[in-house]
């Protein structure tokens, strides 16, 4: 199970793009806390604590400082390069409350199918599931030591943690071992004269001809 991180938050009364940018420049991440029918609260979280939460794969955090609450990290907004966190969405949560969460699937072992000319294709990297907030797994390890050639493992075959129910379609393929197809050979000659078909061009030419 993922560890519970703690955020030392401060209440935030500034809003807007410019002020949020100024907050980020000073090492704070704007966040919002909502849920359980209570009022929405604007917060700031130190960026070091946000980075630690992401590094450890935690999803449930203990808030202290400006507000004392247990919260679930519902959404993390990143910048265009995926290097900095721009904003956090936090929802109030109880330990036994079921939350909708996506958990990443990691492959473990060596598939025998790869020794028979196959290649392991990891199709689905994340599973969506409902599980108690206190028992959110950091990741799901999927053993592929029995994956033969032309076999696949579906979402329904995965052992979920206790109390968790699958939201993803049970028939969705997580991983498959399929034969390697030969790559098209490079001829070295590139046909630059070929042009794509222009939509509607033929019809208009015919109309002009009939008139």
């Amino acid at each position: 199970m993922s560890n519970k991180e703690s955020f030392h938050v401060q209440l935030r009364d500034v809003k807007g793009t410019r002020k949020s940018r100024a907050l980020r420049a000073s090492g704070l991440v704007p966040a919002v806390l909502y849920g359980h029918g209570q009022e929405c609260v604007n917060l700031t979280v130190p960026v070091k604590e946000v980075d630690a939460m992401i590094r450890h794969g935690s999803r449930v955090v203990e808030l202290s400082g400006g507000i004392t609450e247990t919260a679930f990290v519902k959404e993390v907004q990143w910048n265009a390069f995926g290097t900095d966190v721009l904003h956090l969405d936090l929802t109030r949560v109880n330990a036994k409350e079921l939350v909708d969460v996506t958990v990443r699937v990691e492959l473990r072992g060596d598939a025998p199918g790869t020794h028979q000319g196959g290649m392991v294709n990891h199709v689905l990297h994340e599973l969506e599931m409902m599980c108690p907030a206190s028992d959110i797994p950091e990741k799901i390890d999927l053993d592929i030591n029995h994956l033969e050639l032309d076999q696949s493992i579906t979402a329904g075959e995965i052992d979920l943690p206790k109390g968790a129910t699958l939201v993803t379609d049970k028939s969705a393929v997580i991983v498959q071992c399929s034969e390697v197809h030969a790559q098209p050979e490079e001829t070295g000659v590139v046909d630059t004269s070929a042009e794509p078909e222009v939509i509607g061009r033929k019809e208009s030419a015919e109309e002009e001809g009939s008139e």
Binding site: I54, H122, V190, P196, I199
Partner: protein, 138 residues
């Protein structure tokens, strides 16, 4: 064979400007590692193909390579020693318009060390600065 669209509405397009960063196609989706553009630019269909070959030769049958860009912009040029006027030139090549942050290629089924070597070979073919990114957990 270099990539190009099968059907288009118009043969020629205006040049346009690359403004801002990529808000879509900027995360690793299919593989485990990605090659992300740090700056914007046009990438020719032939360059995309050259990158694919460079990566594929290293990966062989072990990993899987995904191309996340497509050359859907036709670029025209006028022949040499042509006088002014006489209209826009004929389509010369196809290019993908890349904004900073776009993930250009992805690799799956390889170790990080292999991905680093593979993308280093591939990056030499690219006309823009690129960097390696990993799949994001959250």
């Amino acid at each position: 064979m270099a990539m190009m669209p099968k059907r288009v509405k118009h043969r020629k397009s205006q040049r346009g400007r690359i403004k801002g960063n990529a808000t879509r196609g900027n995360t690793v989706v299919f593989g485990d590692f990605g090659l992300q553009a740090v700056e914007g630019g046009w990438i020719k269909a032939q360059t995309i193909e050259a990158g694919r070959i460079a990566a594929q030769q290293y990966v062989r049958g072990e990993g899987r390579l995904y191309i996340r860009m497509f050359p859907d912009k036709s670029v025209t040029s006028t022949p040499l020693e042509t006088r002014m006027g006489k209209g826009k030139g004929e389509p010369d090549y196809w290019a993908a318009v890349v904004k900073p942050g776009t993930v250009l290629y992805e690799l799956g089924g390889v170790t990080e060390q292999q991905a680093k070597i593979c993308f280093a070979r591939l990056a030499h073919k690219m006309p823009i600065r690129v960097r390696l990114v990993r799949r994001r957990a959250v």
